[in-house]
Symmetry: C2
Subunit: 412 residues, 2 copies
């Protein structure tokens, strides 16, 4: 109806049209369910939000205090690459993970989002291709449209726990237009943590075909069961090919700080990205003061957070794998899991959960996995579960899901 | 030498190349002089920085205090359009300027920079054209390259005080690819404040050719001599064509807050820009808390600031117009002036000031106006002066400029 109106209006009144890029820009696949969730709440139903990655963990008090007691007379622009003192502190931070970077290899960005845009704009021409194993973080699509690059997805399979697809799958889609491979490690949405061996496999492909490796590692801190976190920055022999994309959002439960990092040892790439950074002048100063202090967050903070997330994860994985016809690989990192359910259409199921189902006055909001795949038809029997809520709420949410699957009419 | 090495390296080792967009991205025209300024300082020379728009005015304490006493447990993402409470407060702010906007017509952005990118991405296809009177804010070039749009400059003349070019000049460059006109009002770099009549002239062109009008009004607060500030949002009959681009950076001497605004009454444009906003999740929360409180900054703050800037401006205009062969129109707004000097090459002159000149151990850093023109050869006898320093420093800086012009060897 809206479109019909627009068409008529266009005929009646000459109006400037929005851009093709604007038309092609994808809407958030998660946001479309929000009206159904709002309506459920209006009917008095409690909705457990497992659809978004907004942690409920408290932001480190020390870092907040550092900002709140800072003596600020004039809130000036910072250096376009970020405050030197913050970048020096980040060098110290990365050392703890055996990542050797220098202060002039770091550009502080407006969240991880801007770091991704800088990488796409710096490395890829319009119509150049970046290979991304899917399911992948849905907003990569938006950044690709914004900067005009093409995403070539290759499938990672739930039955393999979403491991790196075999090298042949990469070779199959590499063309002269392929310019980069992008990964998210640990992965949003799958929670998969790439092994050192998998990254070394990637390094070989990257080297062989002269590609950039864009490595989104914003969930570095969230690795479970003593799993080793190996960064793309630690790969030998492809130092000039790697761009590390990072953020403090999840690390310190500080999503609103909007502080990310673009890191590379490739001087040409760095200097080019700096031109994009200079055009927008500087990243946010308040967030930088906060982030600098956050590097000193005591280890106990992370130990407590990890313990909590492992407990939440275990609730999810155990609950789902005990339902007949369901399967959820055990994530080794991040705070997401992708589960296969005996359903025909995850978009329908997730909407039904909000629109038609409740159990003891409660329901659960999940993200249909279709939004994380580019290949049409993929993810129709999968959902992404964000285990951002406390253990009791996670248990209640899993009980809702269990009961829902007993009565959902459109099962496989 | 560096280039030579790179070429050899490229032959020896296959390396992924950076993008054409990255190559075409302009470096900051002001930044290239920084090494000369650093070297001057190393030689013990005091450099007055009239080259940048970083005000020395104190940030309102009340707004800083609001952030520093805010009770923050979890620093969450805000709404992608910005916190509702901030947008409601902004509605109140704009009312004071007779600008009627609603909370759902505002998107809070990462500084004015992101608002400009949203406007370009939403309104213009790659290779679509935007007409901008020049000299204009140099970073518009960077945003144009980033989003792939073409800038068509038309000349505003120093002898007219940089008034709006005649309507024929616009008509001359309008093609089927023209999609928008962009202005900065009051203007960086000229300080020119468009009259209501000039804006109504623009409205007619916009209406006639179905264009968008992108109005960058970040210096709204800085209008002198009781001049009326008339916003593009107040224009009748083109409400659907106007996008207001704004920022708190200069308004509250809070450049580091990185809070800007994208405002439009055009629902289609708004909804499209929201897709870009959703992809990057949210603007910075700390800056939003600060900006919300800043709306309550008492009127006396602005009265004192205006008085101070008028005094600074008068020092500049009087000093320059008293030097033989120099001309500086009196700016009615912002805190910049463009002056014509009896020089052949402003880039050379500005570098010479730092490299070879000093007066009583002091010199002045100016921005060559060439960086603010797209037309080659324009601005060679003009410099931009930012009057961001206190009156005593401005006097000392103008004395340096006066003495420098007595001895500069490459005069006209």
């Amino acid at each position: 109806m809206q479109n019909y109106k627009n068409t008529i209006r266009d005929y009646l009144i000459n109006m400037p049209k929005i851009s093709d890029k604007g038309l092609n820009m994808p809407a958030s696949p998660i946001r479309k369910l929000v009206p159904f969730s709002d309506a459920a709440k209006k009917r008095g139903i409690k909705v457990y939000h497992l659809n978004i990655g907004q942690p409920d963990i408290e932001t480190p008090r020390g870092a907040l205090k550092a900002l709140q007691t800072a003596d600020i007379k004039v809130l000036e622009y910072s250096h376009s690459a970020g405050m030197l003192s913050l970048r020096q502190k980040l060098v110290e931070y990365y050392k703890r993970f055996n990542i050797e970077v220098k202060e002039d290899e770091i550009i502080v960005t407006n969240g991880g989002s801007e770091a991704i845009l800088f990488a796409f704009n710096t490395c890829l021409n319009s119509s150049d291709e970046v290979i991304i194993p899917e399911p992948f973080y849905a907003n990569y699509n938006g950044f690709a449209v914004t900067s005009g690059v093409k995403i070539k997805p290759i499938i990672s399979r739930i039955d393999d726990g979403f491991a790196l697809p075999p090298i042949e799958e990469f070779e199959k889609v590499i063309t002269p237009d392929t310019k980069a491979i992008m990964i998210c490690n640990p992965s949003n949405p799958t929670g998969y943590l790439y092994s050192k061996e998998e990254l070394e496999t990637l390094a070989k492909i990257v080297k062989k075909h002269d590609l950039f490796l864009l490595s989104d590692e914003v969930y570095r801190e969230f690795a479970y069961d003593n799993a080793e976190v190996f960064s793309a920055m630690q790969l030998k022999d492809i130092e000039q090919n790697v761009i590390l994309l990072d953020s403090v959002s999840k690390r310190y439960s500080a999503c609103g700080a909007r502080i990310g990092m673009f890191i590379t040892k490739n001087k040409e790439v760095y200097n080019t990205a700096m031109k994009f950074a200079q055009a927008r002048l500087s990243p946010p100063s308040f967030g930088q003061i906060f982030s600098q202090a956050a590097v000193d967050t005591p280890a106990e903070y992370f130990e407590a957070v990890l313990k909590e997330y492992i407990a939440r994860r275990n609730v999810v994985v155990e609950a789902i794998n005990s339902i007949e016809g369901c399967f959820c690989p055990t994530p080794k990192g991040a705070f997401y899991a992708v589960a296969r359910l005996p359903i025909k259409d995850s978009d329908h199921f997730c909407q039904w959960l909000l629109e038609e189902f409740s159990y003891q006055g409660q329901t659960v909001m999940l993200a249909p996995a279709t939004g994380f795949y580019s290949n049409k038809g993929k993810g129709k029997d999968e959902v992404r579960i964000s285990y951002c809520l406390n253990v009791n709420d996670m248990r209640a949410a899993m009980l809702c899901l269990t009961e829902a699957l007993k009565v959902y009419p459109d099962k496989k």
